[in-house]
C-alpha cells in the first residue's frame, strides 16, 4: 500500500539521521555482547584453599597435593591454627578451609575410614556447591586409589594372585561442551537478551517519543489507519533488530568461537518470528507510557521479569513447579532454549517444532492485543 511506503520512507530516513539511535543499534549491542560474554559466567575457577593439616603424614600431604594439582584449588596458606584459617576466610584471602585431623593416616590404616573437614565460604551458594562437588570427586578418587593399592599390596603380601572381585567401571562423558566452556552456554542466551531489550525498548521509546512531541496527534488526524501506522513503525524496527541479531551471531562465532552446530538460517528464521512478539510488547508499553522516561522504566521492569524467568541465568528445571509454569508463558524462555538446542546440540526443525509453534502463537496473540490497545482516539 502506498501510504505504508511513505511511512516506511519517513521512518528509515529518521533512523539514519538519528545518531543516537545508530549508536544504540550498532555500537551498544557489540559492546554489551563483548562485556556480557566475558562477565556472564558462573564458572567456578580455582578456589583459594587454606589447609590446616594436623596430621603431617605422607597420606595427609598426598591428599592436599591431589587437591592442589587438580587445578581446581590454589593454595592460599597453611598453618596449624584454625583461628588463622578463620581470619583468612574473613579477610577474603581464602574461600575454602580443609582441616585434616590428627590420626588421619592411622585411622585409614586401622579402620579403613577417616574424616576430613571442609569449610566453604558459601556466600555464593551455587559456586560453593560446585566447589564441593569438585572436592568430593577428588577425595573419592584418592580413597579409591588407596583402596586399590591396598588390595594389590595385600595380595602380594599374601603371595596369592589378586582375587577377581566384582567391580564397576565408570566412564564419564560431557556432551556438547566437553571443555565446560561457559561462554558456549551463555552467549546464545545473551544474544536473545540483547535483541529482546533492543527491540522492545526501541519500539516503546520511539512511539512514546512521537506521543511526547505531538507528531502522534498529527498522524492520528490523518487518513493513516491504525494498521498502517503500526506497520510503518514496526517494520523498520523489526528489520533493525534482525540485523543486530545477525551481527551478534557473527561476533559470537568469530570472536567467541561459539559452536554453530545447527543451521544458522534456522536460528535467524526463529529470531524473525520471535521479534514480532518482542516488538508487540514494546508497542503495548507505548500505549501505557506517557513520557519516554516512563517507557524506559516500564520496559526495564518487564524485561527484568522476562529475563530472570527464562532459564537464561539460572536453570529452568531448578525452579519450583509454579515458577516453571510461569516460565512456560515466557517467549524468551522458548527462544533461549531453541538457541541452545540448535547451536550447541545441532537440533533441527523437527526437534524445535513445538517450541517454534508456541512462539508463533505468542507473537500473534501479543501483536493482536497490542494493536487493539493502540486506538487512534481516546474514548
Amino acid at each position: 500500500m502506498r501510504t505504508l511506503r511513505f511511512l516506511l520512507r519517513k521512518e528509515y530516513r529518521q533512523i539514519v539521521r538519528d545518531r543516537m539511535m545508530l549508536a544504540q543499534i550498532l555500537i551498544m549491542p557489540v559492546i554489551q555482547l563483548l562485556l556480557l560474554a566475558n562477565a556472564a559466567t558462573f564458572e567456578v575457577t580455582r578456589a583459594r584453599l587454606y589447609t590446616v593439616d594436623l596430621d603431617h603424614t605422607v597420606t595427609s600431604r598426598a591428599l592436599i597435593d591431589r587437591l592442589v594439582s587438580s587445578g581446581r584449588f590454589e593454595l592460599a596458606g597453611s598453618s596449624a591454627s584454625m583461628a588463622l584459617a578463620d581470619a583468612a576466610m574473613l579477610d577474603r584471602r581464602a574461600g575454602v578451609i580443609a582441616r585434616i585431623p590428627r590420626d588421619f593416616e592411622r585411622n585409614l590404616m586401622r579402620v579403613d575410614a577417616a574424616p576430613v573437614q571442609l569449610i566453604l565460604d558459601a556466600k555464593d551458594g551455587a559456586a560453593a556447591a560446585v566447589t564441593r562437588s569438585y572436592a568430593s570427586a577428588i577425595v573419592t578418587d584418592y580413597a579409591a586409589e588407596l583402596g586399590a593399592a591396598r588390595a594389590g599390596g595385600e595380595a602380594l603380601a599374601l603371595g596369592a594372585p589378586a582375587v577377581a572381585m566384582p567391580h564397576v567401571e565408570v566412564r564419564s562423558r560431557a556432551w556438547y561442551n566437553p571443555e565446560l566452556d561457559y561462554q558456549d552456554y551463555m552467549v546464545p542466551g545473551i544474544l536473545v537478551e540483547l535483541i529482546t531489550i533492543a527491540g522492545t525498548l526501541l519500539t516503546a521509546v520511539n512511539i512514546t517519543r512521537e506521543k511526547e512531541i505531538g507528531t502522534l496527534d498529527q498522524l492520528n488526524v490523518t487518513p493513516v489507519t491504525r494498521a498502517q501506522f503500526i506497520a510503518g513503525k514496526l517494520i523498520p524496527l523489526w528489520s533493525i533488530a534482525l540485523v543486530e541479531f545477525g551481527v551478534g551471531l557473527a561476533v559470537a562465532a568469530v570472536v567467541f568461537h561459539v559452536p554453530m552446530r545447527g543451521s544458522v538460517a534456522l536460528v535467524v528464521g526463529v529470531a524473525a518470528v520471535y521479534l514480532v512478539a518482542a516488538l508487540g510488547i514494546g508497542l503495548w508499553v507505548s500505549t501505557i507510557a506517557g513520557t519516554q522516561q516512563q517507557a524506559m522504566f516500564i520496559t526495564f521492569f518487564l524485561m527484568l521479569i522476562y529475563l530472570l524467568m527464562s532459564g537464561l541465568f539460572t536453570p529452568l528445571r531448578s525452579m519450583p513447579a509454579w515458577a516453571q509454569w510461569i516460565a512456560h508463558l515466557n517467549p524468551v524462555m522458548y527462544f533461549v532454549r531453541i538457541m541452545r538446542d540448535v547451536l550447541m546440540k545441532g537440533a533441527g526443525p523437527s526437534d524445535i517444532a513445538p517450541d517454534v509453534g508456541i512462539l508463533i502463537v505468542y507473537g500473534a496473540v501479543v501483536f493482536t492485543l497490542a494493536v487493539r490497545q493502540y486506538a487512534k482516539r481516546s474514548a
Binding site: 579477610d91 585409614l108 564441593r132 568430593s136 567401571e169 560431557a174 561442551n177 561457559y182 527484568l304 541452545r340
Partner: protein, 376 residues
C-alpha cells in the same frame, strides 16, 4: 539583617525541593516501578531462582536387561532426584532425546552387565551428561556417581574399600540461598537507579526545557540547585533500600549480622558517588535522550554486569577483573556483603570504604565544576 537574608535564601531552596518532591510523587508510574521492581526481584530470587538441580531426567540404555541392570534402574528410579524418562535398547536415540530437551543424563550399561559382575570382569557404565550448562553437567554427574557408588556397595562390588568421609560446612549461608548473595547487590542497584539514573534524567530534562536557566537567574546558587535537586532523590533511594531490607529480612530471613548503622552509612557514601555521577552525566550531555543513554551505559550497565552483583567477579577473565575496579558498585557490594553476611566491622572494610570516599571526592569536584562551566 543576617537572619533575613538567610531565610530569603533558604526559602527558594526549600520551595525548589518541595517542587521536586511533588514531581516525583506525581509520576505514579515511575514511582510504582521503582518500588515494585526491587521488591519483585527479592521475591524472585528468594522463591523462584535456584541453582540446585532437582528432577534429573535419565535415559537408561540397557541392551541386555538382567537382575543387575534392573536393580540399578530401580535404585535410580527410587532416588527422589532422578526420573527415568526412557529405557532404550541402544544409544541411537539418545542424541535425539538430548536435542529435544527430553533428557538430561544418559546412563549406558554394558551388555551382559550382570554376567560380567558375577565373573569379576569389568562391568562398564557410561555416564553421558548434557553439559551445555557446565555447572549443571558437573553437578548432575556427581549425583549419578553417588547413586552408582550406592549400587556398587549394594552389589558387593568394589569401588574402593577405603572411605574418606568429607564433612562439609557451608559458612555464612548454610542454605545456599541465592537471595542472600543477591540482596546486597540489589541495594546497590536501587541506589544507582534512583541516585544516578533518575537524577541525570531529571536534571537534563530541566536543562532541555530551559527551566534550568530560570533557576540560575534566581537567588539560588548552582551548588544549591544541585543540592535541592538531589536531596529528594537521596531520600527516595534510602527509603526504597530500607523497604528492600525489610522485605528481605521479613520474608526470607536474609541475615543481618552486622551493624545497620554501618550499612546505612556506607549506603549514604555510595549514594553520594552515584549522585555525583548522575550530575556529571547530566552536565556533559546535551539532551534528555543522550543523558538517558549515558546514564544507562555509565551507571546501570556496569552496576548490573560488572559489580559482582549477579556474575561473580572471580569467574571473569583477568582483564575484565581490572575493569571492575573502577565500578563503584563493586566496592559497595563487598562492603554490604561483609556487613550483612559476615558481620564484620569497618576494620575489615576500610580499604573499600577508602576507595568509595576517594571516588566521591573526585566525582563531586568534577560534577560541580562541569555544571558551573556549562552554565556560567
Amino acid at each position: 539583617m543576617m537572619r533575613a537574608s538567610d531565610t530569603s535564601r533558604r526559602g527558594p531552596l526549600v520551595a525548589f525541593m518541595v517542587k521536586e518532591v511533588q514531581h516525583i510523587l506525581r509520576d505514579r508510574q515511575t514511582l510504582t516501578i521503582l518500588i515494585l521492581m526491587p521488591l519483585l526481584q527479592v521475591l524472585l530470587f528468594g522463591y523462584a531462582l535456584r541453582t540446585d538441580i532437582q528432577d534429573i531426567r535419565v535415559a537408561v540404555v540397557d541392551p541386555s536387561p538382567d537382575y543387575a541392570t534392573l536393580a540399578f534402574r530401580n535404585r535410580l528410579g527410587a532416588t527422589d532426584r532422578f526420573r527415568i524418562v526412557d529405557v532404550l535398547p541402544d544409544a541411537s536415540r539418545l542424541e535425539t532425546l538430548f536435542r529435544r530437551n527430553e533428557a538430561d543424563v544418559g546412563v549406558e550399561l554394558a551388555p551382559r552387565f550382570g554376567t560380567r559382575l558375577a565373573r569379576g570382569e569389568p562391568a562398564g557404565i557410561q555416564l553421558i551428561a548434557d553439559a551445555s550448562d557446565p555447572n549443571g553437567g558437573t553437578t548432575m554427574a556427581a549425583y549419578v556417581n553417588a547413586v552408582i557408588d550406592d549400587f556398587a556397595a549394594q552389589m558387593g562390588a568394589s569401588r574402593g574399600a577405603v572411605h574418606i568421609a568429607l564433612d562439609t560446612r557451608m559458612r555464612f549461608n548454610p542454605t545456599l540461598a541465592s537471595v542472600n548473595l543477591f540482596v546486597p547487590g540489589l541495594i546497590a542497584l536501587v541506589i544507582t537507579l534512583v541516585s544516578a539514573l533518575m537524577t541525570a534524567i531529571s536534571l537534563s530534562r530541566e536543562k532541555e526545557r530551559g527551566t534550568l536557566e530560570s533557576l540560575l537567574v534566581s537567588p539560588l546558587r548552582p551548588w544549591q540547585i544541585i543540592v535541592g535537586k538531589v536531596l529528594p532523590y537521596l531520600a527516595l533511594g534510602l527509603t526504597i533500600v530500607l523497604l528492600v531490607l525489610a522485605a528481605a529480612w521479613g520474608v526470607f530471613r536474609v541475615p543481618f549480622r552486622g551493624s545497620l548503622a554501618l550499612l546505612l552509612g556506607e549506603a549514604l557514601l555510595y549514594t553520594l558517588v552515584s549522585l555525583a555521577l548522575g550530575v556529571l552525566i547530566a552536565a556533559r550531555t546535551s539532551s534528555q535522550r543522550s543523558a538517558m543513554l549515558g546514564a544507562l551505559v555509565g551507571t546501570m550497565m556496569p552496576n548490573a554486569l560488572l559489580s559482582g552483583m549477579i556474575f561473580p567477579i572471580a569467574s571473569m577473565p583477568a582483564w575484565l577483573r581490572l575493569v571492575t575496579y573502577i565500578v563503584p558498585a563493586r566496592w559497595f557490594i563487598v562492603i554490604a556483603r561483609g556487613v550483612m553476611l559476615e558481620g564484620v566491622g569497618v576494620a575489615n572494610l576500610w580499604v573499600e570504604t577508602a576507595v568509595l570516599v576517594l571516588m566521591t571526592v573526585v566525582l563531586l569536584v568534577a560534577a560541580v565544576r562541569s555544571f558551573d562551566a556549562r552554565l556560567a
